[in-house]
Each structure stands twice: as C-alpha cells, then as structure tokens.
C-alpha cells in the first residue's frame, strides 16, 4: 500500500504541471488575468476537497464553508495589516492563524449538532453563514460592508500551488489511513461504528473542524490574492457553489473534486453569459447529477473513459467490417 501513496507517476505529474504553468506565466503565455483565475481555481481545489472531507467522507452536509473562509480571510488580513514583519515571516503565520480561528469556531458550531444523529448540522451551518456575514457588516469589522482594502499581495502562484498540493496530499493520506476508514464507517452506519469501539463524537468533530481549518487557510490565500475583501463575497451562494462542485465531482472522490473545481472555476470566465446565472446552472447540474449519476460525473473517470473507448472501438470495428 505504501507504494501507492508515494507513486512516482503522480509526483511527476504534479511537478510537470507546476513547471509548465510557471514557464507559461514567466514567458507570457498566460497573462496576469488568467494567472489570477488559475490561483482562484487552486484555492477552490482546497475548498472543494476539504468540503468533500466533511460531506463525502463524514456524511454531514455543511453550508458554512464560506463563513469559515471569511473567518480565515479576515483574521489573516488583520494580522498582516497589524504586523510589519517581512512577507515570508508573517504570511504563513497569518494564514495558519486564520485557519485556527476557523477551526475553533467549527468546534463550537458542530458541538451540539454532532452529539445527535441526523443532519442538524446543515440547519446550524446555514444559519452561521448568514450570522457571520451580518456580524461583519453590522459590527464594522475591518471596514464593515464597504470591505477591507490595501491588503499586501502575498499569494503568488508558487505559494498557492505548494499549499494546495500539501493540503490535498494530506487529505489523501488521511482518507486512506485508519482514521479515514473509521470516518467512512461513521457515514455508512454510525451505531455500528460506535459499537466497534470508535469514539464517533470526537471523530466527527475532529473531521469537521479539520475541514474548517483548511477552509480558513484557503480564505487567507483568497484575501491576499484578491486584495479586497467584502462580506458579500462570503455569502451562502459561495457555499452552494462549493457544494455543487463536490456533488458534481463525486461524493468522497478527491480526483473528481479537483477536476470539477478546476472546470467550474474556469468555465464562467470563458463563456461570458454564464457569469450572471452561474449559481442557477450549478444547482441545476447538481440536482441532475444526484438524479441520474449519484456517484458523480468525474469520480469514476476510468469507467467513463472505458465507455468512450468502447464506443469508439465499436464504431471503428463496424467500419472495418463494412
């Protein structure tokens, strides 16, 4: 099994994508506009994979991911504005602090909902989303509704790429460890897992708060990339987009999440008219996927590839026969 974790193919692929994109950025094949979109896509990969940890692996629907992101973003921005240390000292510190704040609130939020079976977490997280947004607006935190400006530009492509790879790799290792298998068991049958001697309550809280920690880190990166943050960026529409990406990519599938995050981030910028109605399209796609392909569009790409190959082969062989 250990060979599978550190398979050289995937390592080479990651390095290759990094080298190609860095070369394309430096030689001007990708302008700064598209570089920004690529960074947003990478941040969305962190968010979607961590939401998949809470929704697909743990089996708890959560719509507070953009609220955790807002917590991370605002905390890290306050730290980088307050300290005047050099960028490479304060930026990791600020981002990790943002993640820790999001994690703290996630433990606090999920404590009542995780004690009982059922999807009460969904109700509480949906409310938390609105409460956090209203709190930032009404209590005038870092500029209130007008937003916070003048943020230092720390998230360059390499930093975002390395953090994304580290987080996705960590979640991959986590899912395939003893801990991850126990978490998958909780989503299948909680009572049975409990009777096998797994402390389901603390496992649930730990998994959910870990997802929130990664969301907070993504929020910090997001704030230092866009340079302007407003509370309305972090409303429940963003959480819904992330949930739609998770479900379209496939519940519990990391590769599917990565593919759907990249596609659904870049798609609205290539086709102009989608940008206004993108949430409608995402939700419609989510419902259709749940109805006709509940395992997700991109989760079992080998099966899809096999189906396509078979179809082409059939045509080819038919052509040969005739």
């Amino acid at each position: 099994m250990k060979k599978k974790f550190f398979s050289p193919k995937i390592f080479l692929l990651i390095c290759l994508i990094y080298v190609i994109s860095i070369a394309a950025i430096n030689f001007g094949f990708i302008n700064s506009y598209w570089e920004g979109i690529l960074k947003i896509a990478l941040i969305n990969i962190i968010l979607v994979v961590s939401l998949n940890l809470a929704t697909g692996i743990l089996g708890q629907l959560s719509l507070a991911h953009s609220a955790f992101m807002a917590m991370g973003a605002y905390t890290s921005v306050m730290i980088t504005k307050f300290f005047t240390a050099s960028g490479w000292l304060e930026f990791p510190f600020a981002v990790i602090c943002g993640g820790l704040v999001a994690m703290f609130f996630a433990v606090f939020i999920s404590y009542p909902a995780m004690k009982i079976p059922g999807n009460y977490l969904l109700i509480i997280t949906l409310a938390v989303n609105e409460i956090v947004r209203n709190f930032i607006i009404n209590f005038n935190i870092a500029g209130g509704s007008t937003g916070c400006r003048g943020i230092a530009h720390y998230s360059n492509f390499s930093a975002v790429y390395i953090i994304t790879v580290l987080i996705v790799g960590f979640i991959y290792l986590l899912i395939h460890s003893k801990y991850g298998r126990a978490t998958i068991c909780i989503s299948q049958n909680e009572m049975l897992t409990k009777s096998c001697g797994v402390d389901t309550f603390s496992y649930k809280i730990a998994t959910f708060s870990l997802a929130a920690f990664f969301a907070g880190i993504a929020g910090g990166l997001f704030a230092h990339e866009l340079l302007v943050i407003e509370p309305n960026m972090f409303d429940y529409t963003y959480s819904l987009e992330l949930l739609a990406m998770v479900i379209i990519g496939g519940l519990g599938s990391i590769s599917g999440s990565i593919i759907s995050a990249v596609i659904f981030t870049i798609l609205p910028y290539t086709i102009e008219f989608i940008l206004d109605i993108k949430i409608i399209i995402y939700l419609l796609a989510m419902i259709l996927v749940i109805f006709y392909m509940p395992t997700g569009l991109f989760s079992d790409y080998k099966a899809i590839l096999a189906a396509i190959k078979q179809r082409f082969l059939k045509k080819f062989s038919r052509g040969e026969k005739s």
Binding site: G59, L61, L63, I109, Y111, P112, A113, K115, I116, P117, G118, N119, Y120, L122, I123, I124, L126, A127, V128, E130, I131, N134, F135, N138, F139, Y236, T237, L240, L243, A244, I247, D276, I277, I279, I280, L283, L284, M286, I287, I290, F291, P294
Partner: protein, 289 residues
C-alpha cells in the same frame, strides 16, 4: 407597559413562525425530509398575493387563488422531484431539497429582480386594551394561527385521513401492506403544508410593509429552529403532539426575537435564536435516536 405590549405583539407575530414550523414538522414526520423549499414557497406566496391585490382582486379571493397555485406547485415538486429520490436515499433527498430551494430563489431573482417591494396595507388600525396597544393585523394573525392549528389538530386526531397520515408517519411499510396508498398520503400532506404556507404568507402580508426575495431563507431557518425547539425529531411518530410543539416553538422564537430586539440590538436576534437552539440540542441530545 411598553414591555407587556411588546411581548404581546411578539407572541402574535410568532404565529408566522408557528405556521411554517408546522409545515416543516409535517414534512419531517411524513417522509423524514427537511423540505427547505417551504421558505421559498412562502416568499413566492407573498409576491402572488401582492400581485393579486395590486390587480384589485379582494384580499380573501387573492389568498384563495394563491393557495391553489401554491398547492399545485408544491404537489408538482413532490411528484416530480421528491417521489423518485425519497425511495432511493435520504441523504440525496436532503441535497435535492436544499438545491431546489436555492434554485427556486435564484430563478425568481433572475426573472423578477431583487428590489425590495412595498406591500399595501390590507388591515390598518390598533386595538386598545386599557393602556396596552395591539395592532389589528397582529390580532387577526393570532386568531387565524390558532384556528388553523386547531383545524390541523382536529384533522389529524379525528378524521379517517388523519388516521391514515398518522399511520404512514409511524410505519410506512406496514401501511403499504394494509392497502393505504403511501404516495397519495404524502401528496396530500404536501398540499396541507402549502395551505399553511399561504396562510403564513397572508399574515406576513398583513403585518409587515416591505419584503424582498431573500427574506424566505432566514424566516425558513428561524421557523426550522422553532420546529426543533418544539420537539422535531424527539416526538416523531405522534403527529398531534408535534402540532402543539410546533405552535409553542413558533411563539417562543417570536418572543426571543422581540426581546433581543428591544433589549440588546436588532442584529443580535438571529444569534440569540440559534444560540438557544444550540443549547437546546446540547441539553436534549440523549433524547434523539
């Protein structure tokens, strides 16, 4: 005196939450599905009532027209979306419910825009009991809420249809063996839910003067909190008791909202409601199975 009159007014306004909470409770009891579409249907009902009143149709008739439209649309949603998915997976049906709710909201905003809309006052005036001042509309609201709750309670307790609904909510497998059409009963319950939602929308129309399309999410969530405080999930299986629970929860949430608004601040009311919900869930965690 200000305190007493504000408490009374809050209790009256809690009727809206109580009615939507009852719609949520019925949905959860009959097919164990939290139907988030209720909040959005509530907003659409307000808009249809406003449209009818602006077309100079009398208020009562516009409420009846809205009731018919809402019932048809809710039953259609049940028939086309929930019926196939409920038989497959509870988790997927919850995802479909939340997706549909926000899909309806966003399509509505896309077509009609999200400008705040003024609602014309249907009932104006205040009632004086000594020095306590009560608005007419809130008084009507309270009476209508209690009457509807009583009607639903009687329907569930005393009629044959109510007996069938109770049986389906307790054990749907054995009711299917006894020759009850489960799908038909679920469809009828969704119809009852839409009647309750229309009533709540008409009460909202009477007591509040401005609305926008996003109001449904938060009102739906607050009434869901009301339903949980009223015992949703604990006393499932005995619907008549959960009717009383929903009405109590609705009035409690109305009271919390008004008290925080008058004594702390307007923005704290949501935080207070969900903090109390969290405390309630933590205290009663052993009762959920």
């Amino acid at each position: 005196m200000n305190l007493i009159s504000s408490i009374i007014n809050s209790l009256l306004a809690g009727g809206i939450y109580a009615l939507i909470a009852l719609a949520f409770t019925l949905g959860v009891n009959i097919c164990s599905l939290i139907n988030f579409v209720n909040g959005e249907l509530f907003v659409i009902c307000i808009y249809i009532i406003n449209l009818c009143v602006n077309l100079r149709i009398p208020f009562i008739f516009s409420v009846i027209i809205t009731m018919i439209i809402c019932a048809i649309s809710n039953m259609a949603l049940e028939f086309y979306f929930y019926r196939p998915i409920l038989k497959r997976n509870k988790f997927h049906s919850l995802i479909v419910s939340i997706g549909l709710a926000f899909l309806i909201q966003n399509v509505f905003v896309f077509i009609f825009g999200d400008d705040p809309q003024n609602l014309s006052d249907a009932v104006i005036g205040t009632l004086m009991f000594g020095s306590i001042e009560i608005e007419y509309s809130l008084f009507i609201c309270f009476i209508v809420t209690l009457a509807l709750m009583f009607a639903v309670y009687l329907l569930l307790k005393c009629t044959k249809l109510g007996k069938m609904i109770r049986a389906v909510s307790e054990n749907s497998d054995s009711t299917a063996l006894m020759g009850i059409n489960n799908d038909k009963i679920i469809l009828i319950v969704f119809g009852i839910c839409s009647i309750l939602l229309t009533a709540a929308a008409s009460l909202f129309y009477m007591s509040i003067s401005v609305t926008d399309p996003y109001v449904g999410t938060m009102i739906g969530l607050r009434s869901l909190a009301a339903a949980i405080i009223g015992g949703l999930g604990i006393i499932s299986g005995s619907i008549p008791e959960s009717v009383i629970g929903a009405i109590a929860g609705g009035f409690i949430v109305g009271l919390i909202e008004t008290l925080t608004r008058t004594y702390i601040s307007t923005q704290m009311s949501d935080i207070a409601i969900f903090l109390i919900l969290a405390v309630y869930l933590t205290v009663n965690c052993k009762k959920y199975k």
